[in-house]
């Protein structure tokens, strides 16, 4: 059971974009530099996020990415599903049907109870993720510390703008 690095990158990028002032954008290159990760790889996840309606893109010079909706309307589940895909972690390959001594077919009219239990756990996982929004993350950060992700995003954007002005 493992979650790809893309999830961490995507959540941090979304949080950083939440700190932008109205109309502001950050390019994929700027986001990658900001987080110290590969631009071309981050691009893949950013496209997944824009495809899922979490981010939107502004083409052309001075273009980039920004949030497609309010931080409080973006849950961690939205991001995880966009990046990792909707498939559940547990997949039943029906090995109960593969043995040498076949059971009566009516035994299989009900779904595998093991699968049902595993998916129940996964629903609990997703429910918890769905109940946490990007806005919640930002609120927890700024509640007890002056150096929040949002503020850092702003600082970096200014840096980026200065660089572009040169």
């Amino acid at each position: 059971m493992k979650l790809g690095d893309g999830v961490e990158q995507s959540i941090h990028c979304t949080a950083a974009l939440s700190g932008l002032s109205a109309g502001g954008v950050l390019s994929a290159a700027a986001l990658a530099e900001f987080h110290g990760v590969s631009t071309s790889y981050l691009l893949k996840h950013l496209q997944a996020l824009s495809g899922a309606g979490i981010l939107e893109t502004v083409p052309g010079p001075k273009g980039g990415y920004r949030l497609a909706k309010r931080p409080e309307d973006i849950s961690l589940l939205d991001i995880v599903l966009a990046v990792e895909g909707p498939a559940p972690a547990f997949r039943c390959s029906e090995i109960r049907q593969r043995g040498p001594n076949p059971l009566p077919q009516r035994y299989f009219t009900k779904p595998c109870q093991i699968t049902a239990a595993m998916l129940r756990a996964e629903r609990a996982y997703r429910a918890e993720l769905a109940s946490t929004s990007i806005a919640d993350i930002l609120a927890e950060l700024s509640a007890d510390d002056d150096g929040g992700i949002a503020a850092r995003g702003c600082a970096f954007m200014e840096l980026h703008e200065r660089k572009a002005a040169r």
Copy 2:
């Protein structure tokens, strides 16, 4: 996010072993044939389960595997952790610290809130798995159907015993 096939095999094997009569065992080869999977690969998982104290082994001719404790004392979480390892699915690589504009160090005295949220979801997942035992699975199966995993395990064991007698 993905769970290995070993989890499904391990749970089904544990359920099958729950159906054995007192003192009965099933060899790794028998369990593999029963489920139609590779013996040598299943072996790896069975060893993990016995190492975790879920199964125990009986060596020698007529040896094999059996439960090390009662079905109601074996949770799905026990099995998942034994097979997949205890590491959480989400791992924070602290990309927030990697950017070009370092933040004041005191910003990092608190753990990453994103990580905290992801681990909170994972705790919910594990709690749900911990609350379901092998006995629960068997009960749900036999509640409304005569062909339960336990009964099938018995039938197969008898088949296996007959084979050994020859």
